[in-house]
Amino acid sequence: MIELKNIRLGFKDKLIFNNFNYIIRKGDKILLNGPSGTGKTTFFRLLLGFSRPEEGEIFFDQRKLEINTVREIRRRIGYLSQEAEIPPGKASEVIKIIFNYKWNREIKMNEEKLFFLLDYFSLGQDILPKDIESLSGGERQRLLLIILLLLERDIYLLDEPTSALDEELKHKVKDYFLNIPETVLVISHDKTWEDESGMKILNWAETGEE
C-alpha cells in the first residue's frame, strides 16, 4: 500500500500539489486522467523520490520514503518514462547490463519469460542482437516494458506506455498489465485505457488542485 499524506509541491509560481492525499492499495490498477502539464508525471517522480515534496510524506507499506529507504523503494518500482529511456548498446547486452546493476543482482533473469514476452508483445527474438538506437519508439516501449516485467517489480509506473503502438498492441499491453497481481499506475491519453472497467480513474484536474 502506498500512502501520500498532505503533499505540497509547486514549481515557480504554480502550485501542483496542495494538501494532496491519496492511497494506492496493493494490486490497484489506476489510470491518471487529465490534461498535460498538470503534474501527472510529477506524481510518478514523487513516488520514485526524483522530486521531493515541500511538505508531506509518502509511505510504502508504512515505511516512509526517505534517505534510508529511497533506494530500496526504487528497486520495487518499474518505471517507464515518456521517452522510454534505455541505456545504449545491443539489446541483449543492455539486458545483461541492467541485470548486473547493483540493486538487481539478486534477481534471476527468467529467459523463458523473456521469450514468452517477446512473442506476446510481437517483437520476436531477432530484436535481441539489434542496437537500441536503431529501434523505433514503439519497439523501445515494448522492450522496456519487457525488461521491467523481467525485473519483477511490485509497482509499475507507466508514463504513456502505448503512445507509439498500434491499436492491437495497445490492447495487448493493457490486457497484460491489467491481469497481473502487481500495482499498476498508468498515465495515458490513449482511449484504450479508458474504455473498460477494471481500472480506477484518478481525475487529475480535480484532485491535483484541491
Partner: protein, 262 residues
C-alpha cells in the same frame, strides 16, 4: 642566457595588440574591453611574478618555496571552481584535493627519482615544474568537469531512468564519467603524439633559449609530458569522484545549489 627584452621592445609588443583591436573594431567582435583587461592583467601579474620569483629563487628557502606552491594550488583551485560556475563553498575543498594530491605526488616523484635533485624543494624545480603541471591540469580539469556537469544536466532523464532500472549512482553515470575523462586527457594524448613535429613545446623552447643543449631539453620534455599526462588523469578522476560525493544529494539527485547563479 637569453637576450633581454628592453622596455622599448615591450612597447613594440604592445603595438602588435593593435591588430586584434582592429579586428575587434571592424568585425564588431565585442572583445575590446576584455582584451585590454586581459592584456593589462597579464602584464601586471607577470611583472609582479618576475619580481617575486627573482627573490624566491635567490633566497631559495624550503618553507617559502612550499608556501609559494600552496598559493599556486589555491589559485588553480579557485580558477577551476569559477570556470565551472560552481559554488566555492561546496567545491573548494574537493577541487583542492583533486589539484593538490596529484601535483604533489608527481612533483616529488619527478624531482626525487627522475631529476635526482639533492634538494627536492629547490625553488627552480619545485615552482617551475609545479607551475607547468598545474597549468596543464587546470585546463584538463575545467574541460572534464564542465563536460560532466553539462552532460548530467542535459541527460538527467536518462540518468534517472537508469536509477529506476536499479543502477546505483556510479553505474548510472558510468558513460558520462568515461566521456569526461576522455575529454579531459585527449588533448594531452594528441599533443604527445605530435610533439616535436608540429610544435616545439614551451618548456623546450625556454630551455634552449636559456642555453641548455637541445639534447638535454628533449629529455626534460619527455619526462614533463608523461608527468603532465599522469597528473591530468589523476586529477580529473579525483575531481569526478569528489563530484559524485558532493554534487549529488542523499536521494542521488544532482544538487541544483552547487551552481553559481550567473
Amino acid at each position: 642566457m637569453s637576450k633581454d627584452i628592453s622596455l622599448f621592445s615591450l612597447v613594440l609588443t604592445l603595438l602588435l595588440l593593435l591588430i586584434p583591436l582592429a579586428f575587434n573594431y571592424y568585425l564588431r567582435l565585442d572583445i575590446g574591453r576584455k582584451t585590454v583587461i586581459a592584456a593589462s592583467r597579464m602584464f601586471l601579474q607577470l611583472f609582479l611574478i618576475g619580481f617575486f620569483l627573482k627573490y624566491i629563487f635567490e633566497l631559495n628557502l624550503v618553507w617559502l618555496n612550499l608556501l609559494w606552491l600552496a598559493v599556486m594550488l589555491v589559485v588553480s583551485t579557485v580558477s577551476v571552481v569559477n570556470s565551472c560556475s560552481l559554488q566555492l563553498k561546496i567545491f573548494g575543498c574537493p577541487v583542492l584535493l583533486s589539484v593538490g594530491f596529484p601535483v604533489i605526488l608527481v612533483l616529488f616523484y619527478f624531482n626525487f627519482f627522475i631529476i635526482r635533485l639533492g634538494n627536492i624543494f629547490d625553488a627552480k624545480y619545485l615552482i617551475a615544474i609545479g607551475g607547468m603541471l598545474l597549468g596543464n591540469l587546470l585546463n584538463g580539469n575545467i574541460v572534464g568537469l564542465n563536460n560532466f556537469l553539462n552532460n548530467v544536466r542535459k541527460t538527467e532523464k536518462k540518468y534517472l531512468a537508469n536509477l529506476a532500472l536499479g543502477a546505483d549512482k556510479r553505474e548510472a553515470l558510468l558513460a558520462d564519467l568515461r566521456e569526461s575523462i576522455r575529454a579531459s586527457i585527449n588533448p594531452t594524448i594528441a599533443s604527445m603524439a605530435t610533439m616535436g613535429l608540429v610544435s616545439l613545446p614551451g618548456m623546450m623552447t625556454g630551455q634552449i633559449l636559456g642555453g641548455t643543449s637541445p639534447a638535454v631539453a628533449v629529455k626534460y620534455q619527455m619526462a614533463i609530458m608523461i608527468a603532465i599526462f599522469v597528473t591530468r588523469i589523476l586529477s580529473i578522476f579525483i575531481a569526478l569522484m569528489m563530484t559524485l560525493r558532493v554534487g549529488f544529494d542523499e536521494f542521488d539527485l544532482l544538487r541544483k545549489d552547487i551552481f553559481r547563479r550567473c
